[in-house]
């Protein structure tokens, strides 16, 4: 039995306190379930649309690789093969397979195979010149409309006028499938193709390389400047009004909308320095401006976390301030700095807004060979695909989103791993 007055009061309120604790717990769990629910919905929607996008339909055709027609100059150069009749040879193979004779039949049959098949045949010939002047089975991508038919998006029951394939074309496709020529395989175009207006040929290679180049430039600029700033501000700068003002400004910059950095980039790098538009070099510089505050703030936190006894110890045995900082403090703070940098870079990888102003939100087919060739980045590619009318781009968009998410998971996972691996506790 409770004896004192205090004990009685505690016993009386105990139930209410337990109840409050219980409900707080439930609230927390509910919040997590909500978040998980949204995440699962998003992931199922993306995965269900995107996974089929990793595959596409191909048709195997027998083509006559006549050297005279394919390679008129006879030197297998790009120009000679371009001047050749690759397209015509493929069309002849399609016509032979389908048996199309009349003009409208021919027109219907020609549209079934991807418009970019000539490039595929040319690269096939360049890779296998010994096969010239023989008859070979070569795999070509089907046109996006034909692809949609095999996926079941174009249905036979729909009246002919309302679908994008005619009865004749569907008959040809059924015929090819019955002959065992149609195959459903992992799409090589998605991974090794560049931007294209032919949905079946569009791929992420150009954008992925553009992203890589941009991030390299961004890192090379932002990391040294960010770390140097953080080290100076933490270790050397006097604490006065001016450094305080700088600190406030850095924190402010971290919250500035990213498109503002794009405008800055346009005004300074392109209009004043006269650098060309749409190049990863400018993109990386703009993104570096954007990630600098993140890097500086996290680096300063990492330096602050190094115990003062380390500095005092170094100074105590006669090291100079620079030696104490460079030999002891910075190496110990590096894991934290890198973590911050990786998170900043992951942010930069997902940005489109600052790149809009400097012309990297563009349709760019050629794969950039360096930081001064025009290039675009992954999120821009996703954005552009989402807007194209052809239905196959819906799947490609989701596939590209999956790939971008994988990149982000790898980067953020790397940051966590690095922290776990290199972190030291005192």
């Amino acid at each position: 039995m409770p004896s004192t007055k205090t004990e009685q009061m505690v016993m009386a309120s105990l139930k209410a306190r337990h109840r409050k604790e219980q409900s707080f717990k439930l609230l927390g769990i509910a919040a997590i379930i909500m978040a998980l629910f949204f995440l699962v919905t998003l992931m199922t929607s993306i995965l269900s649309k995107g996974l089929p996008g990793f595959f596409q339909y191909y048709v195997t055709l027998e083509v006559e690789l006549e050297r005279e027609r394919l390679d008129p100059a006879g030197d297998l150069s790009d120009q000679s093969l371009f001047d050749g009749q690759a397209k015509k040879i493929i069309q002849e193979a399609v016509l032979a397979k389908t048996g199309a004779k009349k003009r409208n039949e021919k027109k219907a049959a020609r549209k079934l195979v991807s418009n970019g098949s000539d490039l595929r045949l040319i690269s096939f010939v360049q890779a296998n010149p010994e096969l010239l002047n023989s008859r070979q089975s070569v795999k070509f991508a089907l046109d996006d409309d034909a692809d949609s038919y095999f996926r079941g998006f174009v249905k036979k029951q729909t009246p002919e006028k309302q679908r994008r394939l005619s009865d004749l074309q569907i008959a040809y496709l059924d015929q090819m499938q019955a002959d065992g020529l149609v195959s459903y395989e992992i799409s090589d175009y998605l991974f090794f193709g560049s931007a294209s207006r032919n949905a079946e040929m569009a791929g992420i290679k150009g954008a992925a390389i553009g992203s890589l180049l941009t991030l390299v430039v961004c890192f090379v600029i932002a990391f040294p400047i960010g770390v140097a700033t953080a080290v100076y501000l933490e270790e050397f700068a006097p604490k006065n009004k001016i450094t305080e003002l700088i600190e406030i400004n850095i924190n402010n910059l971290a919250a500035v909308p990213s498109v503002v950095f794009g405008i800055l980039g346009l005004a300074i790098f392109i209009n004043i320095f006269g650098m060309p538009r749409s190049i990863p070099l400018v993109g990386g510089m703009v993104l570096a401006l954007m990630t600098l505050p993140t890097i500086i703030i996290s680096s300063r936190a990492a330096i602050k976390a190094v115990p003062p006894s380390i500095r005092d110890g170094a100074l105590g045995v006669g090291a100079s301030k620079v030696q104490a900082t460079m030999h002891h403090v910075v190496p110990l703070a590096i894991p934290g700095m890198l973590t911050g940098t990786i998170i900043g870079m992951a942010q930069a990888l997902g940005e489109t807004a600052p790149l809009l102003m400097i012309g990297m939100v563009a349709f760019i087919v050629d794969i950039p060979g360096g930081v001064t060739d025009p290039g675009t980045v992954l999120p821009v590619q996703i954005f552009m695909w989402a807007d194209f009318a052809e239905r196959m781009f819906i799947q490609k968009t989701s596939s590209a989103i999956i790939i971008l998410l994988l990149f982000l998971i790898v980067m953020n996972g790397g940051a966590i791993w690095l922290r776990k691996k290199l972190e030291r506790r005192w």
Binding site: F82, N271, D387
Partner: protein, 353 residues
Amino acid sequence: MKKFLFALLASGLITGSAQARDQLSLAGSSTVLPFATIIAEEMGKNPKFKTPVVESGGSSVGKKGVCEGIGTQFIDIGNASSRMKASELEFCNKNGVDVTEIKVGYDGIAVANSLQGETLTISKADLGMALTAEVPACYEGSGRNYNCDEWIANPFKKWSDINPSYPALDIRVYGPPTTSGTRASFAEMVNQKAYCGKEPIAKKASAARGDKKGKKCRAMRTDGAYIEAGEQDNLIVQKLQEDPNAYGIFGFSYLDQNTDTLQSAIVDDTPATFELIASGDYAISRSLWFYVKHAHVGVVPGMDEYMKTWTKNWGPDGILSDAGMVPMPEAERASYAKAMTDLPKLTADMLKK
């Protein structure tokens, strides 16, 4: 630190060498973009040329961008889905930029809904009346005072309020936002010219408020009857597939790709079809243009080839018509093909025609 200095040095070197550009740079209308990119890709197949870079941004970016100046940091060709205005040409002249105007084809603006919904058969003037922000106060069942010179916020809730023969559905139309050329053309052709320019009551009331041309009628409703669905036409298509009672306004190529789920409204007795837009009979269609900068022809490699690639593919059997662009008649194609080689300088007089 060494790395950083090296990077700075490298970027300095690159800036110095970046003066010459061997790749065409285009920007402008998002309606022209799908077609311009097809041409760019086709041209890039030839190993002699690099594939042009095509940026989006809207018609005004295309027309302004091409006129900003001469030099490789400026674009070579501007795409537009509306013709250059006199004021925009003045901007060119101010910057000393001569351009040639090339028309490449037509694009219909489709009004459409789900195949499961009711087909909307409507006159162009009534379509404008349903969507414009303000109407005169003297329509049956609309106004408070029947004063034809007073303008009130658009009171029509259902299509059948305008004419009992129209569907008894709430007016709910998804369309592009103010930044879009599609919207500007729609507002001009339907709200301004068809409704305020022809419908007698609105015409009189417009004149009475000192707006003879009816420019004020271009404003779209903001009370929820007209819903801005973002620049992406695909979003509008998705909304319509989910909501059979709503209608949408978007570029014809998106209707062309979705004929198994969407149907065109019949405006002034014509549905949006490829043939009717090509013959000029469809009620709401506009021309697509690009503007070529003279000073860059022969300097940036590929200008001639880019234009030549257009002429090879802009016919009725070409890849562009497959993608939903409506070709010009043969005579018009010939005259613009000639303009590509002659490069007549665009003057204010030419724009008046």
